[in-house]
Subunit: 209 residues, 2 copies
């Protein structure tokens, strides 16, 4: 093993791997997946490429592990507060999501591209994360009511979540004329508005009493 | 030039090119861009590959020409009726969009993937088409009022259009439990709902009088 410049700590292999994944996630924040190489991680971690290949197998598996970690991170960071006004809790969760995408813009964008562009494994992780975020809507209340879990509302929540992502990415690209608070308000207020639209005249979901 | 099996017609080179593009668009409906080759077009058109290269330069330029043609086609087919109730006109336009994506599913999906996955030229055509569709909202009335053209409403319309695409693609993938009419109603009703959400308490757009 090569000499390293970082101080030796007594970590288990599992802890060491976790630490390297954390570093990978931090590096991904300001880089695309294409730019996140084993070489770069080795340099930043001060350990040999050989050891990294030992931990992660190959570049693709390394990317998958980092993206999975980043997705877990996103899900944890956007957990809504346990109590409070439903719309306020949604707002807090959406604010965390917005901050996450702002802070990890390059990496997030490259994941969206990789997932949409046909990388099946990354698409799967991306879809899983999105499903986990979407499921929250049904576990929780919106406007004082549980959103009924029907095929129509599932579809609408999926559409809403695509819209939220588009709003965030478009706003980051060009925030002129729309404040952060305005953006968050639109994202939060649109969920009950859409659920209501789905419960329209011939909708299959019961409208508010 | 090779012998052809199609009857000779006296077309100008420009008309001939248009005819070949139409054929390319038809072939793309049930195929991904990757599957749409010059060879396939030559076979289907009954003319030589050499002549096709004369018309289209190379595979990439051929794809760009076909996708541009398909985008023009989509814009033309989804033109709302010139008169009538605003929401009804939006519904007619959205129904045409839904039918278009259903009829051209493979090609449409591969364009979305190519545009998202980093093909810059295709992304440009895709964005242009989406902008053209989105601009209609501001040239027209929704719920009896012109949607005010502000940074906030522009962002919201962009988000709405991403949502509509996601709803249509998700519904085609799994239509169980949601009828075509229900889907169309949600897509149409969500636009005024979102514009209203954007005009919320601190929104920058004037709310309904």
């Amino acid at each position: 093993m090569s000499q390293t410049t970082t101080p030796r700590t007594r970590l288990s292999p599992e802890q060491r791997r976790e630490q390297l994944l954390d570093l990978g996630v931090r590096l991904l924040a300001t880089r695309s997946l294409d730019e996140l190489s084993i070489d770069l991680l080795a340099e930043e971690a001060g350990i040999s490429r050989g050891l990294l290949y030992h931990y992660f197998g190959n570049k693709h598996d390394f990317h998958v592990a980092v993206v999975r970690r980043a997705a877990d991170d996103l899900i944890a960071k956007t957990a809504p507060p346990a109590s409070g006004d439903p719309l306020q809790r949604l707002l807090v969760s959406l604010a965390a999501y917005l901050d996450y995408v702002v802070d990890n813009h390059e990496g997030y964008l490259s994941l969206v591209k990789a997932a949409a562009g046909g990388n099946d494994t990354l698409r799967e992780i991306y879809e899983e994360a999105r499903s986990a975020l979407n499921r929250r809507v049904f576990d929780d209340e919106v406007r004082g009511e549980i959103v009924p879990d029907t095929p129509a509302t599932r579809l609408v929540v999926r559409g809403w979540s695509a819209m939220v992502e588009e709003l965030v990415l478009s706003w980051i690209e060009d925030p002129r004329g729309v404040s952060r608070d305005q953006l968050l308000e639109v994202m939060a207020a649109s969920l009950p508005a859409l659920v209501e639209a789905a419960a329209g005249p011939t909708g299959s979901t019961p409208g508010p009493a």
